[in-house]
């Protein structure tokens, strides 16, 4: 099965490794063009018509998410996005926010389209990447340079101990429960995305793909089920402690220690225990 690998700076090595595993020959290209959804859709469409691959492989980056579905749609296909395992014709991807895995089978003729999840393949390959300079086309989107919001007030990357809170806390009024744990441990307080979205904690305390990446000595995940967007931000922690009422929560896969139980009972008990010494 002939493969076309679309390589951007992010995840380049992983995409090449996956492409090599999926088939041969592998044609790997980076696109020599400033990104907009329109320009990249046209560029990769041109490349596909030139190379005629059976399978197009991307990294599942924010950029891929922005244009690859449009490109696949143009060929009457759906992108099999964010795959964590498998090889043609069956790929594995998570559904229901990580509660289930699905084996997804490609049907019909190529080109098919697949994007791989960050961290799912080990980077490295001897495949040379060519630069593709597409025929210039117009873009309806006009993109301004990327920027960061004003400096973060909180730098979680330097913290030794982090207590991070998720949806399980239920209400803003319940935050003192985890604040007490953070205080007893001398820890920084952090949160998963929904907590910051709701405005219960400021955005600069968010850990995850769109927030901060942390690697403390200990990371307490309290009431956090462990969606992949959160896990990528904290899997560098040396020790992970999970407290969750759902034994099947994905966070327990990563946890070195954990308690299955109601956080409103478990966390105060932990605080008591920590004070004992």
């Amino acid at each position: 099965m002939s493969i076309l690998a679309i390589v951007e700076q992010r995840m380049a090595g992983e995409v090449l490794a996956a492409a090599k595993e999926f088939g041969s020959p592998v044609n790997a290209y980076s696109i020599d063009l400033p990104y907009t959804a329109d320009t990249y859709t046209s560029a990769v469409e041109e490349l596909i018509r030139k190379v005629n691959p059976a399978l197009v492989v991307f990294g599942h980056t924010y950029q891929t998410r922005d244009y690859a579905p449009k490109l696949a749609g143009r060929f009457g296909r759906v992108l099999i996005g964010d795959v964590i395992a498998g090889s043609p014709p069956v790929f594995v991807r998570q559904m229901f926010q990580g509660k289930f895995n699905a084996d997804v089978r490609l049907v019909g003729d190529g080109p098919h389209f697949v994007s791989i999840q960050a961290g799912a393949w080990r980077a490295g390959s001897d495949i040379a990447v060519e630069t593709f300079s597409p025929t210039p086309t117009a873009s309806r989107q006009v993109a301004e340079p990327p920027f960061r919001e004003a400096a973060r007030a909180v730098d979680l990357s330097a913290a030794d101990i982090i207590v991070s809170v998720g949806r399980g806390i239920k209400e803003k009024e319940n935050l003192p429960v985890v604040e007490a744990l953070a205080q007893a441990l001398g820890a920084e307080l952090a949160a998963s995305r929904p907590i910051c979205d709701a405005g219960w904690l400021p955005m600069d305390r968010q850990v995850g793909s769109s927030g901060q990446t942390v690697s403390p000595k200990v990371y307490f995940a309290v009431g956090i089920s462990g969606a992949i967007q959160h896990l990528v931000g904290m899997k560098g922690a040396k020790t992970v402690v999970a407290i969750n009422k759902d034994r099947d929560a994905p966070i327990f896969e990563l946890a070195h220690y954990g308690i299955v139980g109601d956080l409103f009972e478990v966390v105060p008990a932990l605080v008591e225990e920590l004070k004992k010494k």
């Binding site: 992108l79 960061r148 793909s209 220690y257």
Partner: protein, 257 residues
Amino acid sequence: MKIAVAIKQVPLRDSPLRVNAAGTWIEENNLGFEINEPDAYALEEALQLREKHSGEVIVISAGPARVSQTIREALAKGADRGIHIDVATLDTLHVASLLAAALKTEAPDLILTGLQSDDLGYGQTGVILAELLGLPHSTIIMQVQVMNDVQPGRVRVKRELEDGWFQHIEMPLPAVLTIQSGLNKLRYATLMGIKKAKSKEIKEIKVVSAGEGPQASAVIEKLYAPEKNQQGQIFDGDPKTAAAKLVEKLRFEARVI
């Protein structure tokens, strides 16, 4: 301006989910359903844009009969009318093509939808919709600014990138935007809203033959719980005992506190 919001109905958050007998999807009997979370933010954004620029908000959803309940709830929050495409399909391209056909005649100035669904999680319906309608689009949007006063007919959006980076993008209307959760504060339906919603129109579109959609390019062969890889020490039972064990382990085994 005329704003269409494409919403999806998904199982209630925290529903106990089981795989169906065929092993290809979840068992849907006895499940409760609600609006997909990012779609709720898309709806809220549409309502706020209408407040600023006046006009009309139309909610559209493809799915089985139960979906009309979720459309009704969107009407109670303030949407003006609804369109229900009565179809049972999991194929993203099929759903997008049905939405595109219905929206073509509506010709909205702006189409909003959530960035991805909490069930399939493909994150593609909005983007494919843009392709099928020949409209510009942008994804993972944190802010929408319709530039009527500065440059009529254009929209400027703030798009989320990785690691806390953002980017502003400008494009002409009509356009399709996929909305990130958290860009606004969701409103609740008021009693008055719920009452008014009862008399608002929901247009029913029957899909005559489910087999008439585009041929699916991928199918779910098997849905299953991921293999457990719990190598950690997990305690349960009495919270006090579990807490004592955990603290002991962290102090004397991991030596991290």
